[in-house]
């Protein structure tokens, strides 16, 4: 049913519809009100599950790991410093190939201390072996949460649903909350294939000698690559049931004949859509919405970009000493094309800086400049820095 809800409230309802059996979360900042809303549902008897308030995100991740290994459908949410504190356990969860769903309400990492939105937190754990899906709006956050369980349970890989903190989590808008019947049909009860059972003991996450470690890592890598098909199928199946898609691995919008594309990730896509209508560019421009960052859909991206002259990447994170994170991946994937487009890599909106519609002409200005692959923070205000730091 269509309801006017805050993103966090909506995701809490979506999680409840997935019938989780164990939820563990650290209840204080940088937590969002997703778990606060879930704990209310549990306290009010609307959701029957074990809700464990823990003393740190490290524990939250550890509890859901244990719960999932014991055969429960488990959930946690965090953001910012919380995900960094979880990092060690995140690798353990994925290495043991345990299906867990976690929401990351994307927020900046300190220091300097910032509570606001960017995607540095989830990007910092991109190598943790989790599937990472980025949401452009709150409807996608709801639908992707439900899809995430299906993907996780079919691939035996954990899934991180990334939604921009504040920009989505604290925004109230019309959101369609699916019915329990729809979700039950989509997500049947699940039995983890390696549920711990004292009658049939197994060892997980054990010491692996150099003789087998490489093979374990390869198999993890392959599992993520293979998950692409499951991500697409999950979105397609959800479309059949609900009439809505969240954008599979990536989606391309805009005029067919365009030679220029802007690729972005997360909620800035909406602002770019509005900008393209309100500040029409001189030449046609496509918009590429990257939803799956892990696995990185390199083949699909190449297919989407093969006839383009320029791809402008706009992201909300930075790898200090290198530059764009998504930008580098796009450049690397497209380098394999016979006539690769120029890739221009930008970041903006770090630590909650507003990204206005005027970002569009600023991005497109790069096309009239000499070829320059250097990464730039496009909304940097140099005059705020001492000369030696510019």
């Amino acid at each position: 049913m269509l309801q006017a809800l805050e993103g966090s409230q909506a995701v809490a309802q979506a999680v409840a519809l997935c019938r989780p059996q164990v939820i563990a979360a650290y209840p204080i900042t940088p937590q969002t009100h997703i778990v606060e809303n879930i704990s209310k549902l549990v306290a009010d008897g609307q959701l029957h599950c074990e809700f464990v308030s823990v003393e740190s995100e490290f524990s939250a991740a550890s509890v859901v790991l244990g719960a999932a290994l014991a055969g429960s459908r488990a959930y946690t949410a965090t953001s910012s410093q919380g995900i960094i504190l979880m990092a060690e356990v995140l690798f353990n969860i994925s290495g043991m190939r345990v299906p867990i769903v976690m929401t990351c309400a994307n927020r900046a990492i300190s220091s300097p201390l910032s509570i606001w939105n960017d995607q540095q937190d989830s990007m910092s754990v991109r190598d943790a072996g989790w599937i990472q899906l980025y949401c452009a709006d709150n409807q996608e956050a709801v639908d992707s949460t439900i899809q995430a369980y299906r993907i996780a349970e079919r691939t035996e890989l954990p899934v991180m649903v990334c939604m921009d903190g504040f920009t989505l989590t604290h925004t109230l808008e019309g959101i369609d909350i699916p019915t329990q019947k729809q979700v039950d049909k989509y997500l049947p009860p699940y039995q983890f294939s390696r549920t711990l059972d004292p009658r049939h003991p197994i060892t997980l996450g054990t010491l692996v000698s150099p003789d087998f470690y490489t093979e374990a890592r390869h198999s993890h890598h392959q599992a993520l690559l293979n998950a692409q098909a499951e991500i697409v199928a999950a979105d397609q199946e959800w479309f059949t049931l609900s009439g809505r898609r969240s954008g599979g691995l990536l989606t391309v919008e805009g005029p067919e004949q365009a030679k220029v594309a802007i690729l972005s990730i997360g909620s800035v896509i909406g602002t770019l859509r509005s900008a393209l209508e309100e500040i029409p560019p001189a030449q046609p421009v496509k918009l590429i919405k990257l939803r799956s960052f892990r696995p990185f859909p390199a083949d699909m991206l190449r297919a989407a970009c093969q006839n383009l002259d320029d791809v402008i990447v706009l992201e909300r994170a930075l790898s200090p000493g290198s530059g764009g994170i998504v930008g580098v991946e796009v450049l690397s994937a497209l380098a394999e094309l016979p006539n690769p487009p120029r890739v221009h890599s930008f970041a903006a909106g770090l630590g909650g800086r507003d990204i206005p519609l005027e970002i569009l002409p600023r991005l497109l200005k790069v096309l009239s400049e000499p070829t320059d692959h250097r990464f730039r923070l496009i909304d940097l205000e140099l005059e705020k820095l001492p000369i030696e730091d510019r």
């Binding site: 006017a4 805050e6 509570i115 606001w116 504040f166 920009t167 989505l168 604290h170 925004t171 109230l172 808008e173 019309g174 909620s267 800035v268 909406g270 602002t271 859509r273 509005s274 900008a275 209508e277 309100e278 507003d354 990204i355 206005p356 519609l357």
Partner: protein, 194 residues
């Protein structure tokens, strides 16, 4: 698309006001979007929230930089730098104030309507929370959304005596301002989507 910015101080129900506005739009089968500009929240600190109302899905998620309306919950904020920034030339200001509209309009050189919303709220709710009274006045002045929708969304947010007193408050507040005098500002811009 109509863009509104709500300014207040921590504890005045600023975010709630913005959410109620968007919820009322939703009640009338329009699209609404509301979000706060979070800062270091503490009681008394200047805060703001943004609202968009449109007849088409709202795509953009940037801050409201050029509002058609400002709803200001504390008259002292009129002197705070940045509060009036970007208000459209024909934009209107609704302010919780004990001063008269004409005094404030002369001072600011803008269209201002004042409402002693905090005093009204103190009298009816027992607490000087100006947000719902201001919303009632805003709906009446602009004609953008109906008071019935406001009553409906209040009943979704509040219960019992708090709800009853708020319903009384919005009825009273609506009588304090002229109806539909701001209607011209709400004309939709001719864009294909919001």
């Amino acid at each position: 698309m109509i863009e509104i910015r709500v300014h207040g101080r921590g504890g005045q129900g600023n975010v709630v006001a913005a959410y109620l506005l968007a919820m009322a739009a939703f009640e009338e089968n329009r699209y609404g979007q509301a979000f706060p500009n979070f800062g270091a929240e503490r009681r008394g600190a200047p805060v703001m929230a943004f609202v968009r109302i449109a007849n088409k899905p709202i795509q953009r998620r940037n801050q409201v930089l050029t509002p058609a309306f400002l709803i200001i919950q504390d008259q002292a904020l009129l002197q705070v730098p940045g509060v009036m920034d970007g208000l459209l030339p024909e934009g209107k200001i609704l302010v919780n104030s004990s001063l008269s509209s004409s005094v404030l309009a002369n001072k600011l050189g803008r269209d201002v309507i004042s409402l002693p919303a905090a005093a009204l709220a103190k009298q009816i709710l027992g607490r000087p929370v100006p947000n719902t009274a201001l919303l009632a006045a805003f709906f009446t002045l602009s004609g953008i959304l109906s008071l019935e929708s406001l009553a409906k969304v209040l009943s979704k947010r509040f219960k019992g005596p708090v709800l009853e007193k708020n319903l009384l408050l919005i009825e009273q507040a609506a009588k304090e301002v002229p109806a539909n005098v701001w209607q011209t500002v709400q004309e939709e811009k001719h864009v294909t989507s919001a």
